[in-house]
């Protein structure tokens, strides 16, 4: 049982506000991902939870216990670092056992735990190796093992997969998710990769410039982004955003094309449509607009089509693989009903 309450956390580095009034409750057994571009404060927040960094204001409460002045070692958290941070002068066994030994756990018990974890992660045959004698993936696996041996209340992950190659990243991602399903421990995971965030999280916190832009489950973030930033950050390729005019429940884009939408707003808006929500139609029809195909990227399962609408409005569309288009062709696009997002062009906030 471990609930993490983060209340009004602020943090300054010099004159830069790294975290600005963050409020977040991480429930017991929940897997929360902090995601954002570099400099968004996501690692800082994690480090504040770990006790490696002190907040300027606000409080962290773990399991109802206020964490102010409590050393990292006494918070019952384990952390996996981006650089794995294995102890270079110890072999794998000692790396895994160190945290138990320093806590005075009896030898036999340590040995049992270490072997158990090694088996689970399939690193038993690496026990005698030093970190420098292993590959990046093996090291990160040992680093995860070091956290598992602790059997902590809370797992903290600081971009653990960022230094690995693409294939390994996907494999370990799945493994981390499986581990969480089995162990059901409260986990906080920092990444700049929105795919990692979407695939791992029960709940995602999108951070930018030290502020939480949106907190929600992956579906919510994808379907109802709270603002332009989240809309652009979550999803790949990014959501298409273009200027429009709203009046009388219709939104006009590109001067002449109109989309009917229920909105009380009138005046300029930012229209957002995801690549898969732009439907391709041949010929002209009401409610469509034209665009010229400039680039086609077949991805296998589906195809990405990049085109230009009007003079210079760039768009991307995701279509099933059997849809054939030619480079330079002019296509008609219809936004999927109910999948159009409207944002305030000034504040960036969601309108519908």
């Amino acid at each position: 049982m471990a609930e993490v309450r983060i209340e009004n956390i602020c943090k300054k580095f010099g004159s830069v506000l790294a975290l600005d009034d963050i409020n977040l409750t991480i429930h017991d057994n929940e897997f929360v991902v902090l995601v954002g571009p570099s400099g968004s404060g996501k690692s800082t927040l994690l480090r504040i939870i770990a006790g490696l960094e002190k907040q300027a204001a606000g409080s962290v409460t773990i399991d109802g216990k206020q964490m102010d002045g409590i050393a990292p070692k006494d918070r019952d958290v384990a952390m996996v670092f981006q650089s794995h941070a294995l102890y270079p002068h110890m072999n794998v066994y000692d790396n895994l056992a160190f945290n138990q030994r320093i806590r005075g756990v009896p030898r036999k018990q340590v040995d049992r735990k270490v072997r158990e974890v090694a088996e689970r992660l399939e690193i038993t045959e690496l026990m005698k190796r030093r970190p420098r004698q292993m590959s990046g993936g093996q090291r990160q696996r040992v680093a995860i093992g070091r956290a598992l041996v602790r059997d902590p209340q809370i797992f903290l992950f600081d971009e653990p997969l960022s230094n690995l190659d693409a294939e390994l990243r996907v494999r370990l991602r799945t493994e981390i998710k499986r581990l969480h399903q089995e162990l059901r421990r409260t986990s906080v995971y920092v990444t700049h990769d929105q795919v990692e965030a979407m695939t791992l999280a029960d709940r995602v916190v999108v951070l930018r410039d030290g502020r939480a832009e949106q907190i929600g489950d992956p579906d919510e973030l994808y379907q109802r982004p709270a603002n332009v930033f989240v809309a652009g950050f979550i999803g790949s390729p990014a959501m298409n955003l273009f200027p429009g005019q709203a009046s009388n429940n219709t939104v006009t884009i590109g001067g002449s094309e109109t989309i009917t939408l229920e909105t009380e707003r009138s005046g300029p808006v930012t229209v957002g449509i995801r690549p898969e929500d732009l439907l391709l139609e041949r010929g002209e029809a009401r409610g469509t607009f034209k665009a010229r195909v400039t680039l086609i990227e077949p991805m296998g399962a589906d195809t990405l089509i990049f085109c230009v609408a009007g003079d210079s409005q760039e768009l991307s569309i995701r279509v099933p693989r059997y849809v054939r288009v030619r480079d330079g062709e002019t296509v008609a696009l219809r936004p999927r009903e109910g999948a159009v997002h409207l944002f305030d062009p000034e504040s960036g906030r969601r309108l519908n």
Binding site: L52, K73, Q82, A85, Y87, P88, R130
Partner: protein, 287 residues
Amino acid sequence: MNGAMVNLYSGLKYGALILWSVFVIAPFLWALSTSFKSDNGVTGGATYIPFLEYEPSLEGWSALFRDTSSGGISMQGPYLSSLVVSLVSSGIALFLGTLAAYGLSRFTFRAGPLGNNDITFFFISQRIMPPAILAIPYFLLLRFTGLLDTHVGLILVYVAMLLPIVVWVMVDFFNTVPIELDEAALIDGCNPIQAFYRIILPNCAPGLVVAALLCIIFSWSDFFFAMTLSFAKVQLLPPTIVILNSNKVPWWSLSASALVSVLPLVIIAFVLERYLARGNLAGVIRE
């Protein structure tokens, strides 16, 4: 390159190496052979081969341990003093210096406009001053505190001279160890002191060895401070050897004592050397 060129090249290469080796080793051989000579062997022209060219004698070596009253030079006292002073001062300097260096490497210090780098430079800048300038203030200071001509006084002065070296060497080493290791240790269950001694310091063993060697070499072979700050109660080895060089030079004893005085350095170098080449940190730093 053809065969003749290769031969010429390696001939030149080894020729140069042999020349240099002779240059380095010859003084030792000279000292070794001289230490077994007697008065006649030294003054009767240059001779090198014992038994053939001169009659070897143990006089030079036995004089080292004999009392001054019986014509010896009684080196045990200065030898022991030198060992104590150099080991203790090196130990203290290493202990304090690594802690200071770790602090400078891991924490941010501010003194007005000055930061960590300035403080580090301040440490080494103390060594810019020539010892001759420091000798008089140290002399006055030690006399004022009643520590002149004592082991403690010498140790204090040497610690002051050695600290900058340790700090300078170790800051660089600590900076190569990623701070994530400290943090991992803190989360794993260490307090900061344990993280330092159990995780960070072992990974800086090569730096520690370099610093230790520099300290011991300096404090063991320093002549200047030993000469000016001690004279009667405490005598260190280097001045003792040099004083032999007075009216009638006992070359044999001088040579023997010179050889004996480098012995600890050789032993320590051999012991510590195996800790030097350890590429433990490879693969820890982000790739």
